[in-house]
Subunit: 164 residues, 2 copies
DNA sequence: GAAAATAAGTCAATATGCCTGACGTAAAAT
DNA sequence: ATTTTACGTCAGGCATATTGACTTATTTTC
């Protein structure tokens, strides 16, 4: 019964393909974070500090609640990490001009330097992967990753054009 | 001076492209783990339990040290998580026949069921992304992800052919 | 203008994940 | 017979994150 056999085989291939997708994400993320984590440890920081520094560098003058929205953590969790970064002079806060309740966040010179160091490794890893895979593969990578990302709002961050 | 300007523009595009790569990984991984995390919380488990259940399901009869090698954590960290799963009947251990020092790991029926529930969400997310992006994009996704993964040994897990 | 909502911060208690270091046991390799 | 390996465990510690309760300043809404 070749029909049954090939149907089963298709299902099997599909199952295997999906598992490989899960694992590609797992291994890639694991390796992607390993080196920055090691660097952060030398400052007494953790991965949470990296995420804060990264996104504040990416979106200067962002508010605390925007940052909370991206990180999807509670303000109590953010508080300690952000407080450390502010007290140690990596991040600067200033009241918003339109809404003075807001504390707009910005990297200091020192913060910019740390961000650069931390992300350099990741940029090079991506650059290497992109270079080896080629432009067409990069396009496919983008498409699949955008499909994995859940929210419409987050997907919009990746619209075409250099500066979002 | 058009040369300088276009060179700077190229650098800018490249920088933006690399940053987007970093962020695609961040958002995709964040959303990829959010729902399983919520399910695990209902069992009193964390992401670590999911990883253990996933890989034991993927490679039945694997040894503890093989699992440690994949997870890249210490045996002390694994110990509590694995111990809970064994005591609560999700994972079964048996001495290896060739090397009786080994404890080979295997999911129980209960473990298989939990694994299926947890990964179903991730499989569907991948399936949706693959379906929407198309076969060629999936090929590109694989290429780029493999380029991001550091170790040759880990990349070998993704060689062609259904069963590794 | 008073009441309600929002942005941000704080105190407290708790859980989980992960680490280093030290030590123990059984089995295999040399 | 000694050393190495596979696994486990005790102890102590730090980072990340949670829920819940409460405060302050400012803006919005009625």
């Amino acid at each position: 019964m070749p029909d049954v056999k090939s149907a089963a085989n298709l299902l099997f291939l599909r199952e295997e393909e999906l598992r490989q997708g899960i694992e590609l994400l797992y291994y890639a993320y694991r390796d992607f974070t390993a080196e920055p984590d090691a660097m952060l440890a030398r400052y007494g920081f953790g991965r949470a500090h990296h995420r804060v520094i990264y996104f504040v560098g990416r979106y200067p003058q962002m508010s605390v609640s925007d940052l909370l929205g991206i990180l999807r953590i509670t303000k109590q969790s953010l508080s300690r990490v952000l407080g450390q970064l502010v007290r140690q002079g990596f991040i600067q806060q200033r009241p918003g001009s339109r809404d003075r309740r807001q504390r707009l966040l910005e990297l200091t010179e020192k913060g910019i330097e740390l961000e650069r160091q931390l992300s350099e490794n990741q940029r090079q890893r991506i650059a290497k992967a992109y270079r080896e895979a080629g432009a067409q593969a990069v396009e496919g990578f983008r498409k699949v990753m955008l499909g994995i990302i859940g929210g419409e709002a987050d997907r919009r961050r990746f619209e075409r054009g250099p500066t979002r």
